[in-house]
């Protein structure tokens, strides 16, 4: 039996559109297939439609058009409580009038699980997140991180096929957030469940995900594993949204053999890899990661074009140094270089020549 393409995933969005007011589309023709056991992150700025997608998957919003399938079954008309999807909310949504134990027992109770089994499954879920001691506490007596673990345990306790997380770490401080990222990732690996994770924090997305769907303006801009997303962005939005990025506007001067020569506004020429440019004379934005910019000639490939840069300031960040430079008439070109013993010092006002490997500079569309 052969399934039509796009129908083979565990979770499938098939030409899904969503409008709240009948005037504008919040989600524009979404097609997404998520494999069983995958950790997929929906990443994007607020208002990009990622949370709407999650809410449609959970059943709190209905798709205006298109079909959402879970495990091969159309769930458009299945009410939320029959979808069997575990969800972790941004503010945890732990029921304040119930103890931790009662919170965890709730999904089992409404499913008619017997008392003895309920008890053992609650204990097991609490142990899974190392919160066994807090069973009789109330949510208000717990710290943010502890509440987060309980919310996670509550979403897992009824063994759902799919877990949705809506910015679950947004309210935690940086250190705790990083710690929880590892824990969630470890739980995902151990349990083998499918996770759909929504965040606007690109660092979080890069650390945890198998694949990331970058949302903007109601569309998926790029769907790729983290490394590919960071190193080979498909368009200017993705390049700018993920990580720090230098964007140099210019015109395609030459286009051949997978290489492009771009002339900047100042008349200088740079090397780039064409991504979504098609013809000579086309306007483009060349995207270069700050850590891939070189200023020592021995680090650049032979024959690479170099351009003039005037150092504006150098910020000491401990492990790295961050130099802000004036390049091609723009003041905010950034270069990062490692803080090693004997590293060349740069001073404000100094003129240097910078260059890069053509693979690291991607000639993209205009925003």
């Amino acid at each position: 039996m052969t399934l039509p393409s796009g129908n083979d995933g565990f979770v499938v969005f098939d030409h899904v559109q969503k409008s709240y007011d009948g005037q504008t589309l919040v989600v524009k023709d979404l097609n997404l297939s998520i494999a069983k056991g995958e950790f997929l992150t929906m990443l994007g700025p607020s208002g990009s439609g990622k949370t709407t997608c999650l809410m449609m998957l959970a059943g709190f919003e209905t798709a205006t058009h298109g079909e959402i399938r879970l495990d091969g079954r159309n769930i458009n008309d299945v009410p939320p409580h029959k979808r069997g999807i575990g969800m972790v909310f941004q503010n945890y949504a732990l029921f304040p009038h119930m103890t931790v134990g009662e919170n965890l027992a709730f999904p089992l109770e409404v499913r008619g699980v017997g008392k003895a089994e309920r008890e053992s499954r609650v204990v097991r879920a609490l142990d899974m997140v190392q919160m066994g001691r807090f069973k009789s506490r109330r949510p208000a007596q717990l710290s943010g991180g502890q509440q987060q673990r309980i919310a996670l345990a509550r979403a897992l306790v009824f063994d759902p096929k799919l877990i949705l997380m809506d910015e679950p770490l947004g309210a935690l401080d940086k250190q705790l957030r990083e710690h929880m990222q590892y824990e969630i990732k470890a739980l995902h690996n151990n349990l083998g469940i499918t996770v759909v994770y929504v965040t606007h924090d690109q660092g979080e997305a890069l650390t945890m995900s198998d694949r990331i769907a970058v949302f903007n303006d109601g569309r998926i801009q790029q769907l790729a594993p983290p490394a590919q997303l960071y190193e080979q962005p498909d368009n200017s939005f993705v390049a700018g949204f993920i990580g720090e990025n230098n964007a140099l506007p210019g015109v395609i001067e030459q286009l051949e053999g997978g290489k492009a020569l771009v002339r900047l506004a100042t008349g200088e020429l740079i090397d780039a890899t064409p991504v979504n440019v098609r013809e000579v004379g086309q306007q483009t934005l060349v995207s270069i990661r700050p850590e891939r910019v070189e200023f020592k000639p021995e680090m650049m490939p032979a024959g690479a074009h170099t351009i003039d840069a005037e150092v504006r300031d150098v910020i000491y960040m401990g492990d790295i140094l961050r130099a802000r430079m004036k390049v091609a008439g723009s003041d905010d070109f950034v270069m990062k270089f490692r803080n090693t013993l004997g590293q060349t010092r740069l001073d404000p006002g100094q003129h240097i020549r910078i260059g890069w490997n053509p693979q690291d500079a991607r000639a993209l569309d205009l925003v």
Binding site: H81, R83, M87, A93, F106, V110, R111, F158
Partner: protein, 432 residues
């Protein structure tokens, strides 16, 4: 030996040589006193700022209530103006038949009271218990101007034979002490018999207990109806988008901005037998001319009109609590497998309890003391205890009776408040 032990030296040093009281400011004054001086000015200013309100509350609230409570058990209308006969009552045991000495004392007191023009006050006091006796006192008082001749019993009976009525004498004995529990007894339909024992009042005078019960039942009913009607509206207010919820809020608050009388009159227009609702029902053929519903001048009218008037007091606390309940709680419950009804019952409703408690308490306490609406639309069967209090204040002028009834009402509300505090906790009350 011990002095050589370094730990022992530390311990004595800590407890003996450096006492806590020795803490001083930099210039050597004791720290505690410096703190008191520095905070005294701020405290004095704070006190002066609340002083007007404190005085206002004392004068307009604490003093009148205290006076009311005092009046409910103190009435010297008889005792102060009839000293001799009061003395005779004090000297003889209850149930003693009035003898010549008693009539002599009565005659002397009546004469004195008539000259001092206080005979009306005395008559009013006795009139509370035996209706129609005020005129007996004033009429006898007019004849007493010239004084009575012995034998006094015959002279007084000659003036009016009602003076021989033993019931009158029993009532006068009860009134002869200024401090009395009789008003409270009367407020719970009890009285004293000839021997001074507490017995039930005559059946046709038993009205107050029934009225207290009716007030309680109707107030509970009104609390329930405001809850049933107000809960969905409060929820709507809390979940609608801001602009539309503001409009709805204005509609909710509209009754607050309309005169109570106008609102009540509007209900009269709607509910009466020749009123809008009945006309409509007859026109639709739901009822015929003879079967017009009586929805007014009875308890139904009282419940309908008071539910409307007290509805905002239920809606507003509920709304203020519901607004703070994050919609993600219900969503979480739904995603965890609860039907919408279970999510409401187990997750949403329990979180609205602080608002519900506040609203219910507010509505109930207001309903218990409500006066104008039952007076206007209640008819005879829809009257509440407050109407009886008002009647004693304005018509029978038996202020002590009104005070006793009001004190019982106040006590009941305080008990309710205490029960609420024990069951729910007053800290959980959220009024806004």
């Amino acid at each position: 030996m011990a002095a050589l032990d370094p730990h022992a030296a530390v311990v004595t040093g800590a407890t003996g040589a450096v006492p806590v009281a020795a803490l001083t400011t930099a210039d050597g004054r004791p720290l505690a006193r410096a703190l008191a001086i520095s905070s005294r000015r701020a405290r004095r200013r704070a006190f002066l700022l609340v002083l007007p309100l404190l005085a206002f509350v004392l004068i307009t609230f604490v003093v009148p209530i205290g006076q009311m409570l005092h009046r409910s058990m103190y009435n010297d209308g008889f005792a102060a103006n009839m000293p001799q006969v009061s003395q005779w009552f004090a000297d003889t045991p209850p149930g003693t038949e009035p003898d010549e000495a008693a009539f002599a004392a009565l005659a002397a007191d009546l004469t004195a009271a008539a000259e001092a023009k206080t005979i009306g006050i005395v008559g009013t006091r006795i009139n509370y218990d035996v209706p129609g006796t005020r005129s007996l006192f004033t009429a006898t008082g007019r004849k007493a101007r010239g004084g009575f001749e012995p034998p006094y019993k015959a002279a007084l009976l000659d003036a009016d034979e009602k003076w021989g009525d033993l019931r009158l004498w029993r009532v006068m004995r009860n009134a002869s002490t200024a401090y009395t529990s009789n008003f409270y007894l009367a407020a719970v339909d009890r009285t004293r018999d000839d021997e001074g024992r507490i017995v039930m009042a005559p059946a046709q005078q038993q009205v107050y207990v029934m009225l207290f019960q009716r007030t309680l039942v109707l107030s509970l009913l009104i609390t329930l109806t405001t809850f049933l009607l107000g809960f969905p509206i409060a929820h709507l207010l809390a979940t609608l988008p801001m602009r539309r919820s503001n409009l709805l809020m204005i509609l909710v608050l509209l009754p607050f901005w309309t005169s109570l009388l106008v609102r009540t009159t509007a209900w009269m227009v709607l509910l009466q037998q020749q009123g809008v609702i009945n006309d409509l029902l007859v026109w639709m053929g739901a009822i015929d001319e003879q079967g017009r519903l009586s929805m007014m001048y009875n308890q139904i009218g009282t419940v309908i009109a008071m539910t409307h008037i007290l509805l905002p007091f239920m809606i507003l606390p509920l709304y203020s609590v519901m607004r703070t309940i994050n919609p993600s709680y219900v969503r979480a419950a739904r995603s965890l497998g609860a039907t919408s009804w279970t999510a409401f019952r187990r997750v949403y409703f329990p979180q609205t309890l602080p608002g519900l408690g506040a609203g219910a308490l507010l509505v109930f306490i207001l309903a218990v003391g409500y006066y104008i609406t039952p007076a206007l639309v209640g008819g005879s069967s829809g009257q509440l205890i407050s109407n009886m209090i008002a009647m004693h204040m304005t018509e029978t002028l038996n202020w002590s009776m009104a005070a006793a009834l009001a004190a019982l009402l106040l006590g009941g509300v305080l008990v309710l408040y205490w029960v609420y505090d024990r069951l729910v906790g007053i800290d959980n009350l959220k009024l806004g």
